[in-house]
Amino acid sequence: MNQQTLTDDQIVAAVLDGRRQDFEILIRRYSGKIIHFITRMTQDRDEAQSIAQEVFLKIFQNLPYYRKENNFSAFIFKIAKNMTLNWLNRQKRTVFFGTLLGREFNKAPFRQEPPRFSLHDQSEREIEITRNLLLLPEEQRLALILKVYLEFSYKQIREITGWSIPKIETLISRAKSRLKKNILLQERNREFVLHAREK
């Protein structure tokens, strides 16, 4: 049978049946989305690759616990979400204790400044959006990314996060308002500075 026509459930059954190599089909099918999700959450492309590898190893370990009646996509994004949030929490703790001990970290992956790669391959506007995305509260950022970049429905987001639909709706709405306000404010500030320079 053609790999493209196999459903996720069929592939999972084959892997559990001993055809481990079929897991690669699932990796090829979902790695782009998973890496995109982690990159948007962490804004760190290199770390995203390494977290994504861990995510797929974890998915493999957890395949026996996957139930057919659930959505496979939600199953794997739940694992990706948990591992990404764990990573973000670890980074926050590292930065917190680093500050407490008065140490400077050369490479603090949880950054408030624009990510390294952005400076080279993104426009100023994109850097601004990336920075503002990173400044959103974690839950708002998560809900917005799952909706806008992964195009999940509120129901699917509920499966991944365990939040209620009204909560998801509120989080996304607030995230959009906040982003809009911040970006607008920064644009006005920039115009003000440019205007002042001209004078």
Binding site: I27, G32, R45, E126, V148, Y149, E169
Partner: protein, 143 residues
């Protein structure tokens, strides 16, 4: 529909999460209300900008890397097996020794059948044509 309610629904409307009836209500309101239409345009522009952010470049070797790590993990698991087997054998020997020692300690008070007595019975009865094979069993043989 008033502006407050419309504003609250705009985000869900954009996400296509409203019922058809609610969608119609919002659309009607947007046609009539300039302020809400401006807000809607802002939302559309924002989401457009978010979606225009390019996805991270894909690594063509990513699947191969993950599969290689799966193999390594599996090999590691198998390397652990002999170690676990050795540990189990060692533990079994140790525990058997320990329990044997314990059981021999417990039987100190019990009178053991003495080989000397057994032999004595055998010797005494040889002339009579008797052979002792057990403390309580004697079998008679003809000479």
């Amino acid at each position: 529909m008033n502006c407050k309610k419309a504003s609250r629904l705009l985000s869900a409307y954009q996400d296509r999460e409203l019922t058809p009836a609610q969608e119609q209500e919002v659309e009607r309101h947007l046609r009539d209300c300039h302020a809400c239409r401006t807000e809607w345009d802002g939302l559309q522009e924002l989401v457009g900008s978010l979606k225009r952010l390019p996805p991270p470049a894909s690594d063509p070797y990513f699947p191969t890397k993950v599969m290689a790590r799966l193999q390594v993990n599996r090999a590691r698991k198998f390397r652990l097996l002999p170690a676990a087997a050795y540990a189990l054998v060692f533990l079994t020997i140790f525990l058997s020794g320990f329990f044997l020692q314990l059981s021999s300690d417990n039987t100190v008070g019990i009178e053991k059948p003495q080989a000397a007595t057994f032999s004595a019975v055998l010797m005494e009865n040889q002339d009579l044509g008797l052979l002792a094979v057990h403390d309580n069993t004697l079998i008679l043989f003809e000479r």
